[in-house]
């Protein structure tokens, strides 16, 4: 109910207004016809009253006296006192020759309202020379003359019909204005509001830099939508900032790890290796007597330092794999080899095919590292979650861009469910894998597309711009 308040309100107002309009129209018509019949019966009464009194007095044998014009005028006035004011109308006694025998005061001017010579017993509405409306009836008298009765509609009803008409017409006009107003309100307010609401429902906050919500004459809507438009832009910029921040963070992390790995490798690892060599040399100078305590100490020392070297090597490996320096193909093969070893005996055999277009395989180290991490993540997802047994990885030119794709034959998942998802949100819900991949894709300034459905294979396409010439190895 509250949900459609505006619609209901507008509908109700429109309905009642339309009702009011038609009721007023009906009232106007009824009023007109009531007035008409009233006037008709009035003029008829007037004529009949006069002719009846004329016959009655005549019946008493006093026709001669009563038939004098003076007497008749007196009777006329007693038929209706209103006739004393000439504007209201009048009575005329007219001979068959259209000669006025007698008339109520000022009634002579009404003669032209009767054109013919025969009586007209049904009242008629006639306009005089000035355009005023009269109801006229002409009835025969016993004397052979006729009596013409005319009453002025304008004079008698003007004040009454004026008020009525004004009232009814203004009611109709008000209704019409309200109806037009409701339509305009609908057209200019309700329709744009609905449009704005619908558009807002589809806005990708943080994904669209600028949106256009409203362009019309209502300044309030204009103001409202410009505020929302600004919000959308701000949200986009914030999102961009967040993305840049995450990208910077990942980049800084990678570079710190790389540096640390290099330093460990060139410093601590080389020193321990050198120590191993020295211990081995020392062992050479000691007679290989099995019971010599010095020999036993040296053996232990070598073992300890070898272990240390092994540990440092694995730290380096974890921090930043050195083999990314060998190029993409080697890096991918290395990961493939390690995955196969990691899942040996646990899973069924995992076969990984690497197809790289030779012309595009030479990429700078940071690109190789990003792609290697993507592949590592994607491949281990494929094996762990999809139970994939074959993974195909490809890099090739796609127009001006490079296309890196990882496809498996696993059980897939509903990728559409993730369409348009903010991958940073996935991180909070435990889908670290996709979030990690997405970060690397951003490092490459690329876009990612996941194509998978439950029960089908999974394919991840990453489209990224080729490294600028300065970056290429």
């Amino acid at each position: 109910m509250k949900k459609h308040f505006l619609l209901l309100l507008m509908g109700t107002v429109t309905l009642f207004t339309a009702g009011n309009f038609f009721v007023s129209l009906h009232a106007f018509r009824t009023q007109e016809s009531a007035m008409d019949s009233m006037m008709r019966s009035y003029v008829l009464d007037l004529a009949e009253n006069f002719s009846n009194t004329a016959s009655f007095t005549g019946g008493r044998g006093q026709a001669q006296r009563h038939g004098t014009p003076g007497m008749m005028r007196f009777r006329m006035l007693s038929a209706d006192p209103a006739l004393q004011s000439p504007e209201a109308g009048g009575l005329l006694v007219i001979s068959r020759e259209r000669r006025i025998i007698t008339a109520s005061p000022g009634a002579e001017r009404l003669l032209p309202l009767w054109k013919g010579t025969a009586p007209e017993e049904e009242p008629r509405e006639v306009l005089d020379a000035k355009g005023e409306s009269y109801y006229v009836v002409v009835r025969p008298l016993d004397s052979g003359n006729v009596v013409l009765a005319a009453v002025s509609r304008t004079y008698l009803l003007a004040p009454l019909t004026g008020v009525w008409k004004t009232w009814i017409l203004s009611a109709m006009a008000t209704s019409a204005v309200v109806l037009v107003g409701m339509f305009l309100l609908w057209y200019w307010l309700a329709v744009p509001l609905r449009g704005i609401a619908e558009r807002l429902g589809n806005v990708g906050w943080g994904k669209e830099r600028s949106i256009r919500l409203y362009n019309g004459p209502i300044s309030e809507l204009e103001a409202l939508s410009s505020v929302i438009e600004r919000l959308a832009t701000e949200s986009f910029e914030k999102e961009e900032l967040k993305k840049r921040y995450v990208t910077d963070l990942v980049q800084a992390q990678e570079s710190t790890r790389g540096q640390l790995a290099r330093e460990l490798h060139d410093g601590a690892l080389q020193s321990t290796v050198a120590a191993v060599k020295r211990i081995q040399l020392a062992k050479q100078s000691v007679p290989s007597d099995a019971n010599s305590p010095l020999r036993a100490h040296l053996d232990t020392a070598e073992e300890v330092v070898q272990t240390a070297a092994g540990e440092i090597r694995s730290y380096c490996e974890t921090l930043s794999p050195s083999w990314v320096r060998l190029g993409l193909s080697s890096a991918l093969e290395e990961i493939a080899g390690r995955l196969a070893q990691a899942y040996e005996g646990v899973e069924t055999d995992v076969d990984i095919g690497v197809e790289l277009e030779a012309a595009v395989a030479a990429l700078p180290e940071d690109h190789v590292l990003a792609l290697a991490r993507i592949f590592q993540e994607a491949a281990s997802n494929s094996v762990r979650h999809g139970g994939a047994r074959f993974i195909q990885v490809e890099l090739r030119k796609e127009g001006d861009a490079l296309l890196f794709s990882v496809e498996d034959d696993g059980s897939g998942f509903d990728a559409d469910a993730y369409a348009g998802t903010d991958f940073e949100e996935l991180r909070t819900t435990g889908h670290r894998g996709l979030a990690n991949i997405n970060e690397r894709v951003r490092l490459l300034r690329g876009t990612m597309r996941i194509m998978s459905r439950p029960g089908e294979s999974c394919r991840i396409d990453i489209l990224f711009p080729p490294p600028s010439p300065g970056e290429t190895r």
Binding site: H265, D266, L269, Q270, S271, T272, V273, A274, A275, V276, K277, R278, Q280, L281, Q284, Q306, A309, R313, E317, P321, S322, W323, R325, L326, G327, S329, S330, A331, E333, E334, A336, G337, A340, Q341, E344, D349, V350, D351, I352, G353, V354, E355, L356, E357, A358, A361, A362
Partner: protein, 216 residues
């Protein structure tokens, strides 16, 4: 006397190795280099029988030097000496023409063996480089399978291998599957390393095509 050149940028490791080499019988240390450039100069001057090259060095890695030796057809065999144990370093070394691969921390007995093998052109791989099934019995590969393996070892994608052998990609994949099964390998790299280690494929059979192997 076996004439050996040693290149390693870490002074303590280098001097330790040098001390051992100098004391070793039947071996003559003809030079010690601390970076890639000086190693190359010394190689050209002394033309040793064997070069012990560190992979990570300033001014030219061991892999680059090995490639140059191969391109110039110098009579020097290369034994890679490194702190890295990743399989791809072995692959990169093999592609660059190295005959052997040994970790710096390996005991001298192993180094002695590696020097002996590589100087005779026999492939030597440090036992610490982990392979899935080192001990599985090797079955004989067919000639076609050897061709597929050799081309794959050169770093060619299977589409290119298919084109060169006028077979389909599917057939290449089928050959590889059969090769893996015969060698007990899990993937390309292991198949190649196992084949080399067991002499199923000889290093000399890997005639590398210029620009195909990746370099450091």
């Amino acid at each position: 006397m076996l004439r050996i050149l040693l290149a390693d940028d870490h002074p303590l490791t280098r001097s330790g190795l040098a001390a051992w080499l100098e004391a070793e019988e039947g071996v003559e240390l003809v030079g010690q280099a601390a970076d890639g450039e000086s190693a190359w100069t010394m190689l050209l001057e002394t033309q040793p029988d064997l070069a012990l090259l560190d992979i990570e060095m300033p001014n030219g890695s061991g892999i680059e030097i090995a490639e140059r030796i191969m391109k110039r057809k110098l009579p020097t065999n290369v034994l890679m000496l490194t702190a890295y144990s990743a399989q791809q370093y072995v692959m990169a070394s093999v592609r660059a023409g190295a005959k052997g691969f040994i970790l710096k921390s390996a005991p001298f007995d192993q180094l002695r063996q590696a020097i002996a093998d590589t100087s005779r052109g026999i492939f030597y791989l440090d036992p610490s480089v982990s392979l899935v099934s080192d001990e599985a019995p090797a079955e004989e590969l067919s000639e076609r399978e050897k061709e597929v393996l050799i081309l794959t070892a050169q770093g060619l994608p299977s589409s290119e291998t298919a084109r060169l052998l006028s077979i389909t990609k599917r057939t290449v994949a089928a050959h590889l599957t059969s090769i893996y099964a015969k060698l007990g390998a899990k993937n390309k790299t292991e198949a190649i390393l196992l084949a080399l280690k067991r002499g199923v494929v000889l290093l000399d059979q890997l005639r590398f095509i210029d620009g195909k192997g990746e370099s450091l």
